[in-house]
Symmetry: C2
């Protein structure tokens, strides 16, 4: 068996603890060799509070996985690439498109791997949906992506700060699946954003793309949470992608699923990218979010407080 790859995890918050740490622990490819965080640590793993100290102290750690919010992420990613490390980015890969183009160029010039991850693309039914739509013409499609921000991001005020994207933070997950499975590229026709009077980012978005594809994003959904996409094609095929992409039904029949969960699949792909020294940076989900933020009609929604 090949040596395990040592990875440092930066930003020990909810997503790191819930997803990255167990995925690394369960993998035969990876070992968690350090953490960098001002607040969180992982039992038994050397903990740093400063990225530059970690990079200087631990030259044997060749891969850094960044789980910080998007705004501070660029400086960390650039520092790691300049220090000769491969970098894995949580979604969205940055606060701006321009910075991710810059990181892509930096990785290319340094000969390092950059992986801009989209975890929802790894959901177990996505490849079945992609195969079912391949070569076909979409007649219509609809995304319902409706969850409760109070349940999934409790008291994380940054999601409502500029750059936090609001409901387009889960929305970009839906768009990362959409851009993976559609047979041809699409672009935005119109959108409406509803932003709470006391916040900077939207809690609800209605989006219309070309080709009859629409999306309803809602971050105030109580009760059952809905992450579903449905498509029909001009030759009469229907494709339903349910449970955040983890269940796929084509013409009424349940489809076989891929094996690994989302984050284990991301780390499996990252190990392949590192070993082959290639990058994977597809910005199309983020381009659609930027287009929505640029083109949308904006409406004011009632003020949002964490305790309703």
């Amino acid at each position: 068996m090949a040596d395990k790859i040592k990875v440092a995890l930066v930003g020990i918050g909810k997503i790191a603890v819930d997803q990255h740490v167990p995925s690394i622990a369960a993998s035969s490819d990876w070992t968690l060799a350090a953490t960098v965080s001002r607040s969180g640590t992982v039992d038994g793993v050397p903990a740093y509070t400063d990225i530059h100290t970690m990079l200087a102290d631990r030259p044997e750690i060749k891969v850094v996985s960044l789980c910080l919010p998007p705004v501070p992420r660029f400086a960390y990613a650039a520092a790691c690439l300049r220090a000769g490390r491969h970098v894995m980015l949580e979604k969205p890969p940055g606060a701006t498109l321009a910075e991710v183009y810059a990181l892509k160029a930096l990785a290319r010039d340094a000969g390092q791997t950059l992986f801009a991850t989209w975890h929802s693309r790894m959901a177990k039914g996505v490849q079945a949906a992609k195969a079912a739509l391949a070569g076909k013409t979409i007649e219509s499609g609809h995304i319902d992506w409706k969850e409760n921000v109070r349940q999934w991001h409790p008291y994380q005020d940054w999601v409502f700060e500029p750059g936090g994207l609001g409901v387009l933070d889960p929305g970009v997950n839906a768009l990362s699946i959409l851009t993976e499975i559609l047979p041809t590229p699409i672009h935005l026709e119109s959108a409406t954003l509803h932003t709470p009077a006391n916040r900077q980012t939207p809690v609800q978005a209605d989006v219309k793309f070309l080709n009859g594809i629409t999306a309803s994003f809602d971050w105030l959904k109580e009760g059952s949470q809905i992450w579903e996409q449905r498509f029909s094609t001009t030759d009469g095929t229907t494709v339903e992608l349910l449970e955040g992409g983890n269940r796929c039904i084509v013409d009424g029949d349940e489809q076989p699923l891929t094996e690994l969960g989302e984050y284990p699949a991301l780390y499996a792909l990252m190990s392949l990218l590192v070993r082959s020294r290639t990058s994977d940076v597809d910005l199309s989900p983020m381009v659609h979010v930027s287009d929505i933020m640029t083109l949308a009609h904006r409406k004011t929604a009632p003020a949002f407080e964490w305790s309703s």
Copy 2:
């Protein structure tokens, strides 16, 4: 002398009449062979009201120049490319980034030229500023781009509709110069947008990029109009680009200027692109605008009316 290239001009509004028509008339490369517009015409030039009719009736017209507002532009551009025509796009090249990536792919697949123009890049002092900054490190820079929307876009309500970009419509001119002359790419750090209570797009923007570069965009400036960019480099060079890029001063000395005006220079470049069947689609100015629209802190400004 080579035959003149026949061009159809689509969207006969202010920018077409003020800039495109005289630039084509003054050029030995071009002849205006048709117009397409629901409202405007040009004396002595066959006028169509429908793009598809013109494309079908006039197979000898190989180039179409689109002066429509950004939102309807995609459908026209795609129709022209699919009909085997070369296409020249006014700035910004579309309402969304995704659609311009799609047009770029369409032009490439069709073997046609697509030119996403940025007229301000052709201002007469821009190349002198670029040469003065080449190979240097920017220490600081500031853009003042302050004009009166009532003077330049009188009663053009579309500039305040979603997709019209507001003050970032002239702002993208400044950014098209900035991205042309800077020696290294930059990205947005923060921005504040001021949007009138009764409108959808901003009238004022304060923008901060990395590398100490800032910009003040104002669309309510009365009296003298200001389009200026100033830079200092770590080796002590100062570069001033004044009058919308048409005057360049380096370390206090006036610099020699390029010869052609902005639109004549665009048509001169388009004739080269068409003859060599190459495209020129640089989206970086539009990427910065999208980043500003995505990342900005938004504030409400007083209501805007055309008659103040």
